[in-house]
Amino acid sequence: MSQFLLVLVSGVASGAVYGLMGLGLVIIYRATDVVNFAMASLATLGLYVAVSLHDRGVATVFGLLAAVAVTVAAGLLVRETVIRPLGQGQLFSALVVTMGVSLIAENLAGSVWGEQPRDFPSLVDGTVRWSGAALPVQSLVTIGVAALAMALVGYLFARTTLGSAMRAVAESPATARVVGLGAQRLARISWALGLGLAALAGCLYAPRSGLATTALTAPLFRAFAGIFLGGLTSMYGAVVGGLAIGVLDNLAANYVSASFRDTFVFSFTVLVLLIRPQGLFGTRTFQRV
């Protein structure tokens, strides 16, 4: 029982990270029709800044805030300089551009900070014992912080004017413009929010994995699996999908095979998509031909 609890908590913590990243991806995708492959690499730049500040004696929490700020700034720079000129609805061009930006950001990080993997500071150390299991406090903090961030995002979109405007732009940019909503301003806010969530996810993930230029690539791909599982256009789907991927991944590693954990998780995702192509929470779209 204690081992099951340990594996479950660890899976939920990993899933929370995937869920946060997935949420960021969905927010950006819904607002600007961009599948942002550069999200993880841009967040990695922020994490390196956080480590540099930590090495200079700055408190970890301020380092994390700096990571979020740098990632948001880098993301906005990318959007304004290389994504926005493409225009609305250029899904595949934008996809390729973000892939290119991702490689550039990785090389930049490697050039500035080196390729040697580095330790990333935990917010908290130690364990708490519960039902015989020694649960890492960092995992519990990860779950708590991610839950708080997701709740705030939910509140923003459900209860605020800004959130309503962002949803309106996501539904129909042209109509939103007619009623006086600034589509570009809202797109910038969406990018900032999405990248901020990615940086936060990175800060919660890196204490376990260490920091390298490609450290966030694996969680990004699991986040993608999560949003396809949950539904590409659904924010709830991104969170639930991410959590499902994290938990299934760990349960599969423990009870099936540590080697076939990915195979199991992605087989499950494929199976769900075969039955429900729009994902668990996505809406089915129809196009006239």
Binding site: V7, G110, Q116, D249, A258, D262
Partner: protein, 402 residues
């Protein structure tokens, strides 16, 4: 219609002529490089290294280590009065790029040997042009597999104890320490599986009552919680890690969190500074094997390395990987010193075939022959003590495998 056919014929004819010219030029290039020799003032050698990309950690460190050695050597007068010019090109760990670099090094730069390059797949991509066509030797490459040396290939000489022999060494070490039940935790790609499979035969040869199990783990796993649960359930007396350095660090951190305390052994890729940097105090007591002595040793040869690094590569880490580069450069220099007359691809190959008891002081004593192109099977045992890799005893040759 007729105009189209006529144009097609013209294009086809031109293409055929160009292809013939290219083949002739290529053949000439091969002949040139085979007989190329360094000028009387210098010995020109080259290497492909991953200076960017995912394995740049290895390439950059290997480069600065070898650079420090060659700079020191040149300041002392070089090899028999000839300076060494070592041209390094970044292949970003890409096999296709390596082939292009090999053509530049051999065809344009006229190097007489490839020395201290890096990468198994990368080198294999370049072998047809470098070894077979150009007859330029590939010396002291970091990487490689058993079939590179069995049977020996003309012009290919290695200084790195095979991963399989490293696994044999840690297996024997664990049995010597009294372990009766060993669990090998390894990544799942074939390269890791092959190494992990070497543990059981050697352990059973040392003590037939020893039980050995394997636990394959998905490559690049970061969450080791379920893996540690499985290790606990298996109740081994020792664990052998055939993982990358970040994976091993993740294993050690999670083991410490879950209160798992077992004698843990690893092969050379884990015996890296990055393992300690990532795992911190969870790495304390980790035992591993290495290709060279620990860079922190008081040994005079290691001190010389640290001094040269501080002088010629200030700001760079004088770690294991840099010491690999240093050691490979020194092996080359020691053997090249025995060449009488012009230093050519052929004379270097002949010198390597006759080289015996090449002692760098930092790596095992190397011996080569016409039938044995791998200089050593020995390793250095190292342990993490007070957060630093520390050598244990002298170089150790593992029992024969199979």
């Amino acid at each position: 219609m007729f105009r189209t056919i006529s144009r097609f014929r013209r294009v086809a004819g031109t293409t055929a002529v160009l292809a013939a010219l290219a083949l002739t030029a290529s053949a000439c290039a091969g002949q040139d490089s085979a007989s190329a020799s360094s000028s009387s003032a210098e010995i020109h050698i080259g290497a492909w290294l991953p200076l960017t990309g995912s394995t740049a950690t290895y390439g950059v460190a290997e480069k600065v280590g070898a650079d420090a050695y060659f700079k020191m050597l040149n300041a002392q007068g070089g090899i028999n009065g000839r300076k060494v010019e070592w041209t390094v090109k970044d292949n970003a760990a890409d096999p296709q790029q390596t082939v292009q670099i090999a053509r530049e090094l051999v065809g344009q730069d006229k190097v007489v040997a490839i020395v201290n390059a890096n990468g198994t797949a990368q080198a294999e991509a370049a072998f047809p042009f470098v070894l077979n066509q150009s007859k330029v030797p590939v010396l002291n490459e970091v990487g490689g597999t058993e079939n590179w040396y069995k049977p020996p290939r003309a012009g290919l000489f290695g200084t790195q104890t095979l991963y399989e022999d490293q696994a044999a060494a840690v297996a024997a070490w664990a049995v010597q320490d009294g372990a009766k039940k060993i669990l090998v935790v390894h990544s799942d790609p074939a390269a890791f599986v092959n190494v992990a499979e070497q543990v059981a035969p050697v352990a059973k040869k040392a003590d037939p009552s020893v039980e050995v199990d394997r636990l394959p783990v998905k490559y690049q796993t970061t969450d080791y919680t379920p893996v540690i649960s499985k290790v606990k359930a298996a109740k081994p007396q020792a664990v052998i890690l055939i993982l990358t350095s970040p994976e091993a660090a993740a294993f050690l951190k999670e083991a410490k969190l879950q209160g798992l305390s077992l004698p843990t052994y690893a092969y050379a890729p884990v015996a890296a500074e990055s393992t300690i940097a990532l795992a911190k105090d969870a790495a304390e007591g980790l035992k591993a094997v290495q290709l060279v002595k620990a860079p922190s040793d008081d040994d005079p040869a290691v001190k010389e390395f640290r001094t040269a690094m501080a002088k010629y590569e200030p700001g760079q880490t004088a770690g294991f990987l840099a010491l690999w580069g240093w050691s490979n450069a020194k092996v080359f220099a020691e053997i090249a010193k025995t060449v009488k007359g012009p230093v050519t691809a052929q004379s270097l190959t002949a010198a390597y075939q006759k080289a015996s008891k090449v002692d760098t002081g930092v790596s095992p004593v190397m011996s080569f022959s016409a039938s044995s192109h791998l200089g050593t099977r020995s390793v250095q045992k190292v342990v993490v003590k007070n957060g630093v890799w520390t050598s244990v005893g002298d170089f150790y040759t593992p029992p024969a495998r199979g």
